[in-house]
């Protein structure tokens, strides 16, 4: 990776890395009050690196949840990365194993959103993407450790802190509306996610809603292009 990759990659990730600071500090504070040492917080951010799951862990651990139950909830919450990893894989051709292993470890929601947007708009490479991801990763690890050291001396409304993440997601959502079909998929995903969450009361609703909506988009798109792509469509009709 050249110096230019680092500079250009990191530059694009600055808003995310800055957004991670208040989030990370809040996450670290929450984990500290749930009984984790600064070293434990450091290790969790380094090895797990999943903001939403770490917030959930803090609240579950504070409520006395067992280790297997927290791991299971983390699994369901992070299952969405299966879709992101599949979706981004097409841009990572002919890369070495170490590159792929590190790139996937740093594939958070935000890293995925930013990379997808940059790859589709051009002037982007896997190397710049990895540089950008590493900046966000460092920001998260350092901020959660700082939060752990500050501890519970500072009181901020959790809704305010959590909203940093949502505001970031809204910006990333807007960048994904690249066609009318994508807008329709977004609306379907939003409505089905709300309904499923209200019905199931479980994080798996996210994954189901995303699957339903992306499949609906696929059907919509295939139908519109049925005539010119008839032969291709027939191959996959079972």
């Amino acid at each position: 990776m050249t110096k230019k990759d680092w500079l250009e990659g990191c530059k694009q990730m600055i808003p995310v890395a800055v957004g991670y600071i208040p989030l990370g500090i809040a996450g670290g504070m929450a984990l500290q009050s749930a009984g984790f040492s600064t070293f434990g917080i450091f290790l969790m951010s380094l090895l797990v690196y999943a903001g939403a799951a770490q917030f959930m862990t803090a609240s579950m651990a504070a409520a006395g949840a067992t280790v297997p139950s927290i791991i299971l909830m983390t699994f369901f919450l992070n299952l969405r990365h299966l879709l992101m990893s599949s979706s981004i894989s097409g841009y990572l051709k002919k890369k070495s194993y170490p590159f792929l292993l590190l790139f996937s470890h740093t594939l958070t929601d935000e890293a995925f959103g930013l990379n997808t947007h940059r790859f589709t708009t051009g002037n982007w490479s896997p190397e710049k993407g990895l540089a950008a991801n590493i900046l966000a990763y460092s920001s998260w690890v350092l901020s959660t450790v700082a939060g752990g050291m500050i501890g519970t001396t500072l009181h901020i409304h959790t809704a305010v802190v959590n909203y940093v993440l949502i505001a970031m997601f809204i910006c990333m959502l807007l960048e994904q509306f690249v066609s009318k079909a994508h807008l329709v998929v977004g609306i379907v995903a939003g409505i089905s996610a709300v309904i499923l969450k209200a019905l199931l009361q479980h994080n798996i609703s996210l994954v189901i809603a995303a699957l339903i909506a992306s499949f609906a988009g696929y059907l919509l798109d295939s139908r519109r292009q049925e005539k010119p792509e008839k032969e291709e469509a027939m191959q996959y009709d079972k």
Binding site: G40, L43, S85, G90, S104, D109, L183, V185, G190, A209
Partner: protein
């Protein structure tokens, strides 16, 4: 750090890393069929929309679409509008956080 915390971190790391790494390892050096590609192009928008809407319409873990009870709704409209108009992510985020802080502490 207690040993149960250590096992917790290891377990979380494994269940988080596998869904992140396996598709990349299995798919990145393979030609993906056109229908699969088309389906995958809708995944980003589907995920972000699901993440956003399943969060902002819930307040204290229950569905709530009242703009004054649910303090996330009005700030979200502001962020949507600003992000669309200015394309400035940091500014939009900051105004949204400011808006929810005002909703919670002032209103």
């Amino acid at each position: 750090m207690t040993s149960s915390q250590m096992w917790l971190i290891i377990g979380m790391a494994v269940v988080t890393y596998l869904p992140r790494v396996l598709p990349v390892l299995m798919l990145s050096n393979r030609e993906i069929s056109a229908p699969l590609k088309k389906w995958m192009s809708f995944i980003p928008v589907a995920i972000f929309s699901a993440l956003v809407f399943s969060d902002i319409f819930f307040w204290n873990d229950t569905f709530n679409a009242h703009p004054f009870d649910n303090a996330k709704l009005i700030p979200s409209i502001i962020v949507f509008y600003l992000a669309y108009k200015t394309k400035n992510m940091l500014l939009s985020m900051m105004m949204g956080v400011l808006a929810i802080a005002l909703m919670l502490y002032v209103v």
